[in-house]
């Protein structure tokens, strides 16, 4: 397990890239290329929205590592968490209490899923588990909207929404996105600490390494699953709040979360830094291509860019950027 160090390296590299490169380019190369500042603005905007994809992808990776389940319902969990959060908030509950209550709800969801769905399906083929999570996604989508309604709800969590100029007014960056990136960074750091320094975290890493071996030293697998689904639920909650704050809480959040799938393919299903870098690549790639290639074909490239990128990528490197190489045996 080298996750911790590589995560820190990744975050560091991210921060350096996000600050140094534009600064450098802004200082030196104003006339290197006519539209450099505009390109940078688009790319940075893309990177920042990519952080949001990473947030969703992170939840997938956690569950996949610990239980081998490809959790299609992560997007639905984002929507469900966001709906519950905004629903409670609209009832007049203070923000901090909303957060705690929704965290409780997500824990309950995790326990229910483990008890009713995962436990009867132990040792089933991965593809069956994948399809079952599509079922879970539908239940959560339906349930969330049935309880809290399906109209779009604004969610103001007190972050600044206006774009502001950086680097001598050359580059326009959305402040909200920057805060979102900071929060995402903090979340990853918290996860690293959790995995690295707590007893449960160590057990989780053991399970991720080898189910059988972990069980044989007395780590209760089912308990671990509840924990990891809960953690994924909390990650979904953070993602839901951020996405909801950006776009309003609505059903389309579940569809945005679908974009986390190509992110995972790029990054590899088992790698946390992979999820982050995959998100950044998808975010920046789709924004840049939309702005610079979109006009050539009438726009809308964003709809499919991520999937096509993943498709092409898969053909050349099926295990993703950071995933482990698959060796087939007979």
């Amino acid at each position: 397990m080298h996750v911790e160090r590589s995560v820190l390296t990744t975050i560091g590299a991210m921060l350096v890239l996000m600050t140094a490169l534009p600064w450098f380019v802004g200082q030196v190369s104003e006339d290197v290329f006519f539209e450099w500042p505009f390109f940078l603005e688009v790319a940075i905007g893309g990177l920042l929205s990519g952080v949001m994809y990473s947030l969703v992808a992170l939840g997938f990776v956690l569950i996949f590592k610990a239980s081998g389940v490809f959790n299609f319902a992560q997007g639905a969990m984002v929507l469900f968490a966001a709906l519950s959060f905004v629903g409670l908030k609209d009832l007049g509950v203070p923000l901090w209490l909303c957060f705690i209550l929704t965290a409780g709800i997500m824990t309950l969801v995790a326990m229910t899923i483990e008890r009713l769905v995962l436990r009867p399906l132990v040792n089933q083929e991965p593809i069956i588990l994948f399809m079952v999570t599509i079922g879970i996604a539908y239940v959560l989508d339906g349930l969330g909207q049935m309880i809290w309604g399906s109209e779009v709800r604004m969610l103001d969590i007190g972050l600044p929404q206006d774009p502001s100029f950086f680097f001598d007014g050359k580059i326009l960056i959305n402040q909200f996105d920057m805060f979102a990136a900071l929060i995402a960074g903090a979340l990853v750091a918290a996860l690293v600490i959790f995995f690295q320094y707590t007893k449960t975290g160590r057990a989780l890493r053991a399970v991720a390494d080898d189910h059988q071996a972990a069980m044989s030293v007395g780590i209760p697998l089912q308990h671990i699953w509840v924990v990891v689904w809960t953690v994924a639920g909390l990650v979904a909650l953070v993602a839901g709040i951020m996405w909801g704050g950006k776009l309003g809480v609505q059903f389309s959040l579940a569809l945005i979360a679908l974009k986390a799938l190509p992110v995972l393919i790029l990054g590899g299903f088992t790698s946390i830094p992979g999820a982050i870098i995959g998100g950044l690549i998808v975010g920046a790639g789709e924004k840049v291509s939309e702005v610079f290639l979109g006009p050539l074909v009438g726009g809308g490239i964003e709809d499919w860019f991520a999937y096509m990128l993943a498709l092409v990528f898969l053909v050349f490197r099926p295990q993703g950027l950071f995933g482990e190489k698959i060796i087939e045996r007979v």
Binding site: V117, L121, I127, V132, I134, L140, G142, I265, G300, A310
Partner: protein, 359 residues
């Protein structure tokens, strides 16, 4: 009369290979077809035919298509909607570009065009499988729908993007599409097509290629080692599956809704068809029909059941309830009976063979 096979001895392998080796099954099948071809058109109302039977038949056809790819060949696809859209737009372009082309030819050609598109998007399946492939098929789904929305050529530059199927006749002056078409003729046309295609699909799945598909599904490495060419066999599965989905898409647009619109084939359609084969039965042609019937009937049941017990539920709540019920059913079937309704039916028949003597 009892459901028994006692006394029916097979004297040739050919008889043993028949689709319905048990005579009672064959009789039941013939009776069922008679009801579908004669009884339903005589008794059913236009409303029943066009809002229940047509979507049922079209969805069943799409389900057969996906079942060939996912249930038999084991390649999970979330791109069914995109392939159906391809069939619908191919049929539209063909029938407007060549107004004299016979409608049956139009449908078959649009199936073939979709098969070509399916082969293209099936190429990555050589290197990737399982949920990786599912994500890759999402690429085809989103790309195809985007393409049909974006380029005016596909809609003959119609301003709204929603276009109607042009009126066409078959066998003299029976209108099959367009406003003059009677639901009964549409139904009979669709039914004949679907029954025929279902029979061909059944044959494929019980012949050499079907065994190759199932071998790849059950254990791809072993399949390769006993000499099954991977890429070719998978691509054939993609082609045949897309052919069926394409024709289903063309039927959806031309026979059922009468208009060609990309929205009808979005990613939710892909999930819907996947749900049908999970509930109906993975790897079963009959399951495709059962799943489609279930998919058409459940919303009607959910709409009417609360009425009957005097509870009023709003339309939006109802759609959420529907999503939940489907989700729960998917989970239920995958846990309890991964082979779906078709397997439950088989178990029922096995019980019936012995009934009323349990041992």
């Amino acid at each position: 009369m009892f459901y028994r096979e006692a006394g029916q001895f097979k004297t040739s392998y050919q008889a043993d290979q028949a689709i319905f080796p048990i005579r009672q099954d064959l009789y039941a099948y013939i009776a069922f077809l008679a009801v579908a071809f004669i009884g339903v058109p005589l008794l059913a109302s236009d409303y029943f035919l066009s809002t229940l039977m047509l979507p049922f038949l079209v969805l069943a056809l799409a389900a057969i298509g996906l079942n060939i790819l996912t249930g038999y060949a084991g390649q999970l696809s979330l791109g069914t909607g995109g392939f159906m859209a391809t069939g619908a737009f191919a049929a539209y372009k063909l029938s407007t570009a060549f107004p004299d082309m016979h409608l049956i030819i139009v449908f078959l050609l649009s199936g073939l065009i979709t098969a070509g598109v399916g082969i293209f998007f099936g190429i990555p399946s050589l290197r990737i499988k399982g949920f990786y492939l599912a994500v890759a098929t999402l690429a085809s789904q989103f790309f195809l729908i985007w393409m049909f929305n974006k380029f005016g050529w596909f809609t003959n530059y119609s301003a709204s993007g929603v276009i109607s199927a042009p009126p066409r006749t078959v066998f003299g002056d029976f209108y099959i599409t367009g406003p003059q078409a009677a639901p009964v003729t549409k139904y009979l046309f669709c039914l004949s097509f679907v029954v025929l295609l279902a029979l061909l699909a059944k044959n494929l799945t019980r012949s050499n290629i079907g065994r190759k598909w199932m071998a790849i599904r059950d254990m791809d490495i072993a399949a390769e080692i006993i000499g099954i060419p991977m890429l070719k066999t998978k691509l054939i599965a993609f082609a045949v599956s897309s052919f069926y989905c394409g024709i289903a898409g063309a039927f959806w647009a031309f026979l059922y809704t009468g208009s060609v619109e990309p929205l009808a084939f979005d990613v939710n359609r892909s999930f819907q068809v996947l749900f049908m084969i999970i509930i109906g039965g993975l790897g079963s042609i009959m399951g495709s029909f059962l799943g489609a019937a279930f998919m058409v009937l459940l919303p009607i049941f959910l709409t009417n059941a609360p009425h009957m017990v005097g509870v009023e539920i709003s339309v939006s709540t109802l759609s959420h309830l529907e999503a939940m019920v489907f989700g729960v059913l998917i989970i239920f079937f995958l846990i309890v009976e991964p082979h779906g309704l078709a397997r439950l039916w088989q178990i029922f028949k096995e019980k019936m063979r012995l009934w009323p003597f349990p041992h």
